[in-house]
């Protein structure tokens, strides 16, 4: 009953509607940019927008295959064959590449797949392309999955990652769970969603703007005295306000997720939802499909949201006005945006990857893990636990802050 009132109180503020509208439009725009700006090429030039997407998907139709060792070997041999004909080859003095029909007909339609294969065979430090495939010796078969495992191992052993034996074991075990052979196919929409997650920070901030007055708005309006001296003012009302804030936050979050993902998935299709992440990068250890990966990361961002709501309520209970709440929240949410990691090891980087903004980025391929004694947890788990824990701490503290508020 009280929670309903508090929820309606949030909803009927004009600022709520305004802030949510702006934030939904912004989120839709930011996630929609890749759709609007989409372009691909063929021999005849640029193909833009929906037409480009349709063209690309037609190219991929032939690539919905299982990447068996035999298929990979054949593919590599085909490319090697193309390089055997001097007419196909161009040279910029630095490296060789294919030109003309050889490129446009045989490479361009599946360049991403060829790059994926080339990178699986490459040294960790190098980024490779299809034109490195001729150097590969595949007399005895492709050994693609053996190479893939070996590459993960090499990456884990790279001293710059500073991984302990336990952590290497943890990631190694996880990578072993990846189902092989990998099923390839089109995953354009999911790729865009996964690389755009941090844009949801604006949605989180918008939700905070709406929640900020839940307690401090009472102080500002001067209603604190009547409310705190009423029967449920220091008890059920606090629960109601908290519940209303969480309810609003959840509803607004779902709405933003829909506005963010729907246009992308409508434009690019949901193709690839059941394909493994490894077809984007074989070094990824997480045995998830694209849909699973997206849902898991949305779940983590939701936990971040809950903690940020908790913090907003705590500040709201302690500050005299909603503006002060936002003044403190802005740097917490947005300063991490300007801090770039310089690796994946060390206190600085490991902290950075847990801050709200970075926590929105899944970083599936970076082997970010945290060790507590003998326990190793990956960044996704630590984020979920950390933000869940913060939520559980902040909400009661916020209530206490309001209960103890001194009217003066």
């Amino acid at each position: 009953m009280l929670a309903k009132y508090e929820f309606l109180k949030i909803l009927r503020k004009k600022s709520t509607l305004a802030v949510m509208t702006v934030s939904l439009i912004l989120t839709g725009f930011l996630f929609g940019l890749p759709v609007m700006q989409y372009q691909t090429y063929n021999q005849d030039g640029v193909i833009k927008g929906a037409e480009g997407i349709a063209y690309e998907k037609r190219q991929y139709a032939k690539l919905s295959v299982s990447l068996s060792d035999e298929y990979v070997a054949e593919t590599i041999q085909e490319v090697q064959g193309l390089f055997k004909n001097p007419d196909n080859i161009g040279n910029d003095g630095n490296e060789q590449f294919l030109i003309g029909d050889a490129y446009w007909n045989k490479i361009a339609p599946r360049e991403k797949l060829l790059n994926l294969i080339a990178n699986t065979y490459s040294n960790p430090k190098d980024i490779r392309g299809y034109n490195d495939l001729p150097d590969l010796d595949i007399e005895d078969g492709a050994s693609f999955y053996k190479t893939m495992k070996g590459k993960v191992k090499t990456l884990l052993n790279d001293p710059s990652r500073g991984l302990s034996d336990k952590q290497k074991e943890y990631w190694g075990n996880m990578a072993d769970q990846v189902d092989t052979p990998l099923q390839y196919g089109y995953y354009g929409g999911w790729e865009i969603i996964i690389s755009s997650f941090e844009l949801l920070m604006f949605a989180l901030f918008a939700i905070c703007i709406v929640i900020a007055p839940v307690f401090s708005g009472e102080y500002q309006a001067g209603t604190d005295a009547v409310i705190l001296s009423a029967k449920y003012g220091k008890t059920k009302l606090i629960t109601a306000k908290t519940a209303a804030s969480l309810l609003f936050g959840t509803a607004a979050f779902i709405l933003h997720i829909i506005v963010a993902c729907a246009p992308v998935l409508i434009a690019f299709g949901t193709d690839g939802f059941d394909l493994p992440l490894q077809i984007a990068n074989t070094a990824i250890p997480y045995p998830f499909t694209f849909l699973q990966a997206v849902l898991i990361n949305i779940g983590i961002i939701y936990f971040v949201l809950l903690a940020v709501i908790g913090l907003t309520l705590l500040l709201s209970a302690k500050m005299k006005s909603p503006y002060l709440v936002l003044i403190i929240l802005v740097p917490i949410l947005f300063i991490p945006m300007f801090l770039a990691p310089n690796g994946t090891a060390g206190i600085y980087n490991l902290t950075l990857f847990l801050l709200p903004y970075r926590s929105a980025m899944p970083e599936f391929g970076k082997y970010i893990s945290y060790q507590f004694g003998g326990l190793v947890l990956d960044a996704l788990t630590v984020r979920a636990v950390l933000y869940g824990f913060l939520t559980i701490i902040m909400l009661p503290l916020a209530g206490l802050g309001f209960r103890r508020h001194q009217v003066s």
Partner: protein
């Protein structure tokens, strides 16, 4: 039913806003009189549990506020000084919201809301947004919300502030309607607000109770010490410095002075019937002269 204030104190840094206030309050109307800054609001906030005393305790029927928790607040109605509303709410919505916070059931909330809006004469404006209300309408809504839960303790902090004289009379009637069987504490710095409805006068100065007296005997201490006499303007100035002047009025080129002194200040001075105003002016004349005299003159 008894509300006990025991050695209540509230310290703000070096300033003692309320200093060692004790009182045993039983049902009746208490007029809490004091100049601005006397500590009335601070005292009331502590009674209403929205401000923690530096020391001392508040007990209701022997139990402290902390022991009673919700049970205490359930029996409390509070109209704070300078409080606010949700500007986008209508009066009816605000009342229903407050009723919910006060734990009234849905049906009772509706009934009390309608009855009280009627009593404070806001029924016609009940569906207008509060931001369109005048100061007087807001005050009436303020007292209506305080009364929603039919409280046993009703705390009204300067409920007549900002009202015009006519509204003020209506308000007094309203308060005496609500006051039955309750402990009502009504603060004001305007004597006429309480002189007709208070059973007991609590006079507060610099954080302490100066006196706690039943209305019927409150002026006994100055009986026979209130004098009135005429002087010319020049002499009036001198008298103001020499005596405690509680009122001064120009009449036909002369000045009528009302003073409180043990003995007759001049030969032609006559004793006058003492009033609450005299007592108030006697205690607060120095600090509240201008406003007090104006009020008093306004009344005559």
């Amino acid at each position: 039913m008894e509300l006990q204030l025991q050695n209540l104190r509230k310290q703000y840094g070096r300033k003692c806003a309320v200093n060692n206030v004790s009182a045993d309050l039983v049902p009746g109307v208490y007029g809490l009189l004091g100049a601005n800054g006397a500590g009335k609001t601070t005292l009331m906030r502590m009674i209403c549990g929205v401000l923690k005393p530096t020391s001392g305790s508040i007990r209701f029927n022997g139990k402290t506020m902390e022991q009673l928790g919700e049970k205490y607040y359930a029996r409390l109605g509070y109209m704070p000084q300078d409080f606010g509303f949700y500007p986008e709410f209508t009066a009816r919505e605000f009342m229903l919201y407050m009723a919910a916070v006060k734990g009234l059931g849905k049906r009772r909330a509706k009934k009390r809301t309608e009855a009280l809006l009627e009593m404070v004469n806001l029924s016609d404006a009940a569906d207008k947004k509060i931001k369109t209300y005048s100061g007087g309408m807001k005050q009436r809504l303020g007292i209506a919300q305080a009364e929603l839960n039919s409280p046993s303790i009703l705390i009204l902090d300067e409920p007549t502030a900002g009202l015009d004289p006519k509204e003020r009379v209506r308000f007094r009637n309203l308060i005496s309607d609500f006051a039955r069987e309750k402990i009502v504490i009504l603060s004001t710095h305007i004597v006429s607000d309480v002189s007709s409805i208070a059973d007991t006068i609590l006079m507060m100065k610099q954080g302490s109770f100066l006196l706690q007296e039943p209305m019927s005997t409150v002026t006994d201490s100055i009986r026979g010490k209130v004098w009135e006499f005429f002087v010319d303007e020049r002499a009036a100035e001198k008298c103001c410095r020499e005596f405690s002047v509680v009122n001064l009025r120009h009449e036909n080129g002369m000045v009528r002075l009302r003073v409180i002194e043990q003995a007759a200040p001049t030969k032609n001075a006559k004793t006058a019937e003492p009033g609450l105003e005299d007592l108030f002016m006697f205690h607060f004349g120095g600090e509240n002269q201008e406003q007090g005299v104006k009020e008093y003159v306004g009344k005559i």
